[in-house]
């Protein structure tokens, strides 16, 4: 007992600062222990979820296969599955993922049958319910599910998210509209008030490609849009779907104040091989930025077989090494005459442009 009193006295003598430090240390150790438990439990939980998802995945596939291929499949069994197996969020999610992954690989009647199953199991309501969530990611997930399962009846609800402040949510809504709104898949472009970021543009282009759209709009109708990113997107889509009718509008856009936009126009002209642009390109060359001059030099030989050698030779005399190289390459692409001129320069070791000619003529570079 004396020892205990002595120990108590000893702790009573500890200065206040040390006491506080010890208490904080104890707090840190308790938190560390808590974190250790969280790590342990989350690993156990992940293991359980993995096993559970495999089990549920198997059950889902059994039901889907039976539903798809058994003509006499009784509706009651679907309802029983819904009541017994789809009674919690986790199971529903696993089932939905199985359904969606199968649906992505099917078209026509089979895909429609899956959509019917989706509705019969009441999953449509669950997906739609997500659209009323406060969390952007839950809404986006719901939109994805509705789009994957082809739920056209929810178009208006989905459309309300195309200008949402969260870029991923509005992107998912736009992708969903492309997939669901068969008659006018890009009509939402008229209602956009937010910019189309590069990543969104990729998603939209991919969605359009995958949807095998029959009613593609003429993208030139948005080339006068005030939002520059929409114009850029449409330029790229014009190229992707080879909409040559847009060329006159592209020529007008070469006078646009934005150099970056003009660069996109030049790329589009090149890829569309719009020979009508030749004169305009030669006209604007001298006022353009160095990057756009490069684009013009890449574009000219791609769109015209006309003799622009005098122009290229003038550019060769400019001091910018990149422009010289681009001009040399343009000469080569323009045919035998250009090659002959450059070969002459290459053979003349004293010529100031000898190395440029050699570089341009090397097919490996």
């Amino acid at each position: 007992m004396d020892r205990l009193y002595k120990l108590q006295d000893h702790f009573a003598d500890i200065p206040e600062t040390v006491e506080i430090i010890l208490l904080v240390s104890l707090f840190f150790l308790s938190v560390a222990f808590g974190l250790f438990l969280v790590i342990l439990l989350s690993r156990l939980k992940d293991g359980w979820k993995y096993r559970r998802s495999r089990w549920m995945g198997k059950k889902s596939q059994q039901l889907i296969t039976a539903y798809m291929f058994d003509d006499e499949w009784p509706r009651e069994r679907t309802i029983r599955f819904r009541v017994k197996k789809l009674n919690n969020g986790f199971n529903r999610q696993v089932f939905l993922e199985s359904l969606i992954s199968l649906s992505q690989n099917l078209i026509g009647e089979s895909a429609e049958r899956l959509s019917v199953l989706y509705e019969e199991l009441g999953l449509h309501q669950h997906s739609k319910y997500k659209l009323y969530s406060n969390s952007w990611d839950v809404i986006a997930k719901g939109i994805c599910e509705l789009a994957e399962m082809g739920m056209q009846q929810d178009l208006d609800l989905i459309r309300s998210f195309i200008n949402h402040s969260h870029p991923i949510l509005r992107s998912e809504a736009q992708v969903a509209l492309i997939r669901l709104e068969k008659d006018a898949p890009f009509a939402f472009l008229n209602q956009l008030s937010e910019p189309l970021l590069g990543w969104q543009q990729m998603q939209l282009a991919r969605a359009a490609h995958k949807a095998h759209l029959e009613n593609l709009p003429a993208f030139e109708q948005w080339l006068s849009n005030e939002e520059e990113t929409i114009v850029v997107f449409c330029l790229r889509m014009i190229v992707q779907y080879a909409q040559h009718n847009a060329v006159p509008k592209l020529l007008e856009l070469l006078d646009h104040p934005s150099a970056e936009l003009r660069r996109e126009v030049l790329v589009a002209i090149r890829q569309l091989e719009a020979f009508e642009a030749t004169e305009k390109l030669l006209e604007i060359y001298s006022h353009e930025t160095p990057e756009n001059k490069m684009e013009i030099l890449k574009t000219l030989p791609a769109i015209t077989l006309e003799d622009n050698f005098a122009f290229y030779e003038r550019v060769l005399l400019e001091s910018d090494r990149n422009l010289q190289l681009a001009a040399a390459r343009a000469m080569i692409k323009s045919g035998g005459k250009g090659k002959a001129i450059l070969s002459g320069i290459k053979d003349d070791l004293q010529h100031a442009l000898h190395s440029v000619a050699a570089f341009a003529l090397d097919p490996r570079i």
Binding site: I14, P15, T17, V18, I21, L22, V24, S25, L26, F28, L29, V31, A32, L35, F36, V38, I39, S42, R43, D46, K49, Y50, S53, G57, F90, Q93, V94, E97, D137, A140, C144, P167, I168, S171, E172, P195, L197, G198, W199, Q200, Q201, M202, Q203, A205, R206, R236, V239, Q240, R321, N322, L325, S355, V356, A358, F359, D362, R364, I365
Partner: protein
Amino acid sequence: MSELIRSYIGETATFFNYLVLYYAIGICASYVILALISAFAMANYKKRNSFVDYRSILSSKFAPSVSLIAPAYNESMTIVDNVRSLLTLHYNNCEVIIVNDGSKDNTMQLLIEAYELEKVDYVLNEQVATKPVRGIYKAKNPAHHKLVVVDKENGGKADALNVGINVSVNKLIACIDVDCVLEPDSLLKLVKPFKEEERKVIATGGVIRIANSCEVEDGRLIRVHVPDKFIARVQVLEYFRAFLMGRMAWAHLDGLLLISGAFGMFDKETVIRAGGYNHNTVGEDMELLVRMRRLMYEEKMPCKVAFIPDPLCWTEAPQTWDILKRQRNRWTRGTAETLMLHRKMILNKRYGILGLVSLPLWVLFEWLAPLIEFFGMIFFVLSAILGFANWPFFFSFLALIYSFAIMNSLFAILSFSKSILTNSTSDLNTC
């Protein structure tokens, strides 16, 4: 010793004790704040990434082109496999530039033989000054058309990277250490922030993981193992803390100062405008990023440096104390040199969060920490010898720091286990 001197030394010792205590509290507080911010940022990233399908970049005509620049110096043991691994990365529009920085071994010869290289008449557009280039090589075999090998005089890693910048033709450059093993989709992940931000993104980086004891075949990581050696094992934890808690949080706060030299992607135009890599510092990776950010602040152009909390690159960590000492010496000197070169930015409101928060904290807790720890140890030993050591304070302080380190490391492990993405319930087996 007179009473007066004793009391004077005693008071000084108490003063230093408290100074070190407050410093330690400052460090711990900053770590806790960063850990909380990184947890928030990580959760946000996971949510955002659950909607990403990287195949859309792979198949998109809208995807930007990338030049991958890898300097090599005396890498004959691994160079052929490493280049093969770079050539098989999942990315369509990509050129691979290997810069042989005047290797004294047969690195160049091995490359020439393995990839059937031949010298070409390349016109170099020297946008950043470098040491002379001896020759530029391309592969005869069209299967390796992406490959460009530059042979140059030895000038160090920074110089080799600058040559790569001059040779590159694309707008984005990814600078890597040639001995690193990249994840196949690492380029796709680094490119994404450049396409999804409204602000101009000038650089992106990701998590570097330690490859010691991991199984690598043909330049590809096959299986992950915990390193055999204790030093490497400790660094695994250290890397988790640095990348998942430190850099993730700083990127979220827009105060990131460092993209690891092992693997990072940059906007070439900004790199060139900033003057390329600095030859005169051993911390060229940190110095370049700070200079790029400084340039953007001075030109009043809003920009962003993004960080991806996914493991993108695997590297060998030092396994002996001697190599570790040299590495840490280089890092510390690099930090000190960068902070000295850009001291004008420190506590300067013109440089926003970088000047007011990031840089001052780096000075206090990165640059000064080794000095304070060193002087602290000397001071304690002297105090103990002279009989002024405050033992209760010493042991309680030790307990504080040690318990905090345990807590912080466990938080890093938790962050790591949560950083593994599970986009769907079927991905759970990847955990």
